[in-house]
């Protein structure tokens, strides 16, 4: 009897902890959103962060975009050429990149390249009591440190994702399909609003999600070396899962009812 009660208690405690952390995260999110207008007024703080997480991510985004586009084009060519439909390669590559791969892979790479650095930076600031020092000076660290990074993430991810998709399409072109058919098939099948537009909506959502996760885990990390290490790991895991789940939800909303 006692064992059952213990089990129930453990389950209840776990559920309560989960609920508590969800509520805590949403409150933190609203605080961030509340500080965003102030961060926009002091945009130079965000510019520094856009350089750190946007510009410096360009190399990995461009390299991965070209590689993914090229590989996708090559494999699509092998499969489609059997049915004499090799000219559809452009359409297949463009649709997969614009709708799914561009936004999702960019967000995953962003979480790995920039999200971790945000978490580690904020975690170390917390461990070094810099955030506490700011509070002592009546400066809210969420407004001064977190909100500019939040804005920078939301600006950077859509731009990076567009660059990823564009480079990917160009990379697929490099495998040497007839140029006219490649572009005309693509233009026939790709819709500006449904495909490009929905893809951009996705990237904005992913930008908010990955940046928020990175900032939250950094801000809530234990102020120890292990705590920062665990927070950095958690950033990658939680952002990746969040991006994949959000992508599934958004895809089923955006692309399911199409004829």
């Amino acid at each position: 009897m006692n064992a059952v009660a213990d089990l129930l208690a453990a389950l209840g405690a776990r559920a309560l902890r989960l609920l508590w952390s969800l509520g805590h995260a949403s409150l933190f999110f609203w605080e961030l959103v509340r500080f965003t207008p102030a961060a926009l007024r002091r945009f130079d703080l965000s510019v520094v962060q856009i350089y750190a997480i946007g510009n410096l991510s360009l190399v990995i985004i461009i390299t991965s975009g070209a590689a993914v586009g090229g590989v996708l084009g090559l494999q699509a060519y092998y499969a489609l050429d059997r049915y004499g439909a090799a000219e559809q390669v452009g359409l297949l590559v463009a649709l997969s990149l614009l709708r799914e791969l561009g936004p999702v892979l960019t967000a995953l790479l962003f979480a790995g390249r920039a999200g971790t650095s945000l978490t580690a930076e904020i975690g170390l600031m917390k461990a070094g009591e810099q955030l506490a020092a700011m509070e002592m000076m009546a400066v809210d660290p969420r407004g001064r440190v977190l909100a500019p990074r939040f804005v920078a993430g939301i600006v950077s991810v859509p731009l990076l994702s567009a660059i990823f998709s564009a480079v990917g399409v160009a990379g697929a072109k490099l495998i040497g399909i007839d140029s006219a058919a490649f572009w005309s098939q693509m233009q026939d099948g790709v819709d500006v609003f449904k495909d490009v537009g929905n893809g951009m909506v996705k990237t904005v959502v992913f930008g908010v999600a990955t940046t928020f996760v990175a900032l939250y885990t950094g801000y809530e990390s234990d102020a120890t070396p292990e705590g920062v290490a665990q927070a950095t790991t958690r950033t990658v895991v939680i952002s990746s899962v969040a991006v994949l789940v959000l992508d599934f939800l958004l895809t089923s909303l955006m692309f399911s009812t199409r004829p």
């Binding site: 350089y51 614009l98 731009l159 990076l160 572009w183 233009q187 790709v190 819709d191 500006v192 490009v196």
Partner: protein, 160 residues
């Protein structure tokens, strides 16, 4: 790094992103050829539209002259009504006929327009009178099997 250099680098990044969006919209999705006013619409009724899809091409003599704007079902005559958006530069005689064909054996379906000989042109919101429905492969196979079976049955009787 001083502030000015930083601003320039971030500006370059934003310009790159904007160029990428422009490239995707113009080159991949062909926003430039999206035209809202340079087409006119005519309707065509088919007994069976088969696998015709919205935005499928409308061709005449193999050249794309327009697109399918919408496909609806008319529950009075039990026919499929396809609305064709045709480029304003192309005029067709009023007795033009429309049929649903397939690119290749299993490819996508499109609407082919065959011009008639009428002096008058097809006007916007006219309907095309002479239409030919899509060929449904399953029906064809069914007919083939049926006729084969009938043939086989006859041969058996003949052999007796």
């Amino acid at each position: 790094m001083d502030k000015r250099n930083l601003d320039i680098l971030v500006g370059l990044f934003v310009v790159m992103g904007a160029l990428a969006v422009a490239f995707l919209a113009l080159k991949a999705a062909n926003l430039a050829s999206l035209s809202f006013d340079s087409t006119y619409r005519v309707t065509a009724r088919f007994d069976n539209v088969g696998g015709l899809k919205i935005r499928a091409p409308v061709k005449s003599a193999g050249v794309t002259v327009g697109r399918i704007a919408s496909i609806t079902f008319d529950d009075k005559n039990f026919q499929g009504v396809a609305t064709l958006e045709i480029d304003r530069h192309y005029k067709f005689p009023a007795d033009t006929s429309a049929k649903i064909l397939t690119t290749g054996l299993l490819g996508d379906q499109y609407v082919a327009l065959e011009p008639g000989a009428d002096d008058k042109d097809l006007q916007p919101y006219d309907s095309i009178k002479i239409t030919q429905s899509a060929v449904v492969l399953e029906n064809l196979i069914g007919q083939l099997l049926y006729s084969k079976a009938a043939e086989g049955g006859k041969r058996k009787e003949g052999g007796k």
